[in-house]
Amino acid sequence: MKLDDKQLEKLLTSLPKLQISEKADKKFYAKLNALARERFFEEETSALTAPSFFNFLRPTSLRLGLVGAFASLLLVVGGTVWAYQPSTTRGKLMYPWKQTAEKVELAFAFSDMQKVDTHLQFSDRRLEEAQNIVGKSSSLALLLQTAFADEGEVELTGEEQKNLEATLEDMRSEVTKASEIVETRVTAPEKAKRAIERIESASNQHIETLNNLERRAAKKAKAIIRLVADDADERLTAVMQAREEINQALEKREQTVKLIINMRRERLSELKNQFNDESRQHRLEEVRQNFTETMQRFEVMPLDVKQEFTAEIEKAKTSLEMGRFGMAEGLSRVMEMREMRFKLQPEPKPEPEFLPADQPQSQSQPGDKPTEPFNPDFQPVQPFQPQQEIKPDAPFNSDAKPALPSMPIEPKKPFQPMLKEQQDFSKLPDEKPSHPIQPKPALINKNEPADFQQPNPNQQKPQDQLPPPMPKNDMLNTNKGMERVDNLMRGLQEAGNFVESK
């Protein structure tokens, strides 16, 4: 049978036809949407610039008005771009413009996170400006320093010094504002974590930059920079503590978190504005001791807990070597906080027995603290050092630290570990009643067995206060544990009364 034209046509028209896939369809629509948006946008903007549009407008005044508006827009944008240069520093013509533009920028940061970021960005800018102020003379200073050793430093002028101080103060206050937002408005732990991490990394960067800057700067500028760098370092302690609090809240799956950063920092840096070589040295020594004590307590921790802290320990050592006491202190406190958490765990892992023989010896000499920064051979003493825990009592404090008789500044309490701070807060009547410390009573209670075991808080000698049995092993025994908790509660109460009567 031969194929005729009609049959052929029929065959040809029934050749297979495929359908476009749904995926390809979606892809196309996505692209089309994007293109349409782009086109609309182009149209809107071209309405201002397209020459045809101007031709269409007959009245000259209208045209002139538009040209004027456009020109002023250009001026504002251009001016802002110019003002935003790091070389526009305090005291310069365009600086007020920059400040105004930043206010506008801040007004456009709607969410809390955006605000935190914006403030941190501003602080970075201030630092850049500071670098610029110092940098102007620093290259020359560096040249002269290398040429004439220490003789020919180029100092900043009086005004430049003022500007540098004000700029760095602004930088500091921007970071403070960022942390204020976190303190007062961010309660979701996840969010707080992100915010605090940004603050931490920004502070770290600031300190690093400031340290570098200090090296280049001439004498007077050096002092100004040092002060701010130290202050930023102090802040880091509070920030790291806050971060650890968040971590713990996240672990416990708490829904909200309340942080203190600024107030804690202020308490820490009561010495601020007084930082000089001597006080720095003293502060560093103090942190070093604190760290060494923490390390000693860690010696008795199970291996896996110790391993968890390897990185922190290393970092803290490096920080101490670099003179970064704030960072070291922060790490030390983070370790303390985790240590507490570990101790609060319901099933403490069996660990090596304490040597009771060692105990009286160490207690008989409460002031015999190691002054060497890191003594790897140091005998593990005991998990809680009573003399440390009792420090909040000011008179006792001076007793407790005979190792540092020549300290230039009386360390009242600003540098006590976290625990005591909390205590301080709760005791001080002038503190805010809604203090964020409140949600943590459990931590305090369970961690102060050593302090308040003996209901007589008037006793000054720590060794008298501590009963012979070791707290750690006691915890294994539930009955004894309960008894201890009772004792502890009683002790706490009496301690409270004691403080009130004082």
């Binding site: 049978m1 031969k2 194929l3 005729d4 034209d5 052929l8 046509e9 065959l11 040809l12 028209t13 029934s14 050749l15 297979p16 036809k17 495929l18 359908q19 476009i20 896939s21 390809a24 369809d25 892809k27 196309f28 692209k31 089309l32 293109l35 349409a36 086109r39 609309f40 149209e43």
Partner: protein, 173 residues
């Protein structure tokens, strides 16, 4: 400058013609499905970009096919190989699986013959029968005279018919 109404209209056009354009491309690039889908999307986006230059008194079908035709020409300008239609056989089998075996065999033969036509003849045949375009539309798209198209088409179909009858006569007897 596309208005909202334009976009709606364009979307309607796309829905109406996407299958034709897709198959038009598919048959001409060796049944590479993914590629055909990409090219179809490109063609419609190109059309959208120039939608304001589209004369709405004229049929959209010819306009979009012209764009597709030119797009393919450009596409081939880079790659000089001609793609065989034989690959369509497999697809023809898949698509036509519900048809009788005899129908499928005939289909295969036709496709084979179409693929052996000269490029211009093949193009015409596909436009006419697969893409359902009229002679006038084909003329506009290819930029040729309608009469020339008619003659060329009848010549192509005659070739197909004769080839079919010579090659497969014995089978169908």
């Amino acid at each position: 400058m596309p208005q909202k109404a334009d976009i709606e209209q364009f979307t309607a056009y796309y829905e109406k013609h996407k299958t034709s354009i897709f198959n038009y491309i598919l048959y001409r690039i060796g049944f590479n499905r993914d590629m055909a889908e990409d090219l179809t999307s490109d063609i419609f986006l190109k059309a959208f970009e120039h939608f304001d230059s589209y004369d709405k008194t004229r049929p959209f079908k010819t306009w979009i096919f012209t764009i597709a035709h030119n797009h393919l020409v450009n596409y081939y300008a880079g790659k000089k190989e001609t793609l065989p239609l034989e690959e369509a056989l497999e697809i023809a089998k898949e698509v036509g699986s519900q048809n009788s075996a005899e129908h499928n065999m005939t289909m295969e033969r036709i496709l084979k013959l179409v693929s052996h036509l000269s490029e211009s003849q093949k193009d015409l045949v596909l436009m006419k029968y697969v893409d359902d375009l009229g002679n006038e539309e084909i003329a506009k798209i290819t930029g040729k005279e309608e009469g020339a198209i008619r003659t060329a088409l009848s010549r192509a179909t005659a070739t197909l018919r004769d080839q079919y009858n010579i090659q497969f006569q014995e089978d169908t007897l």
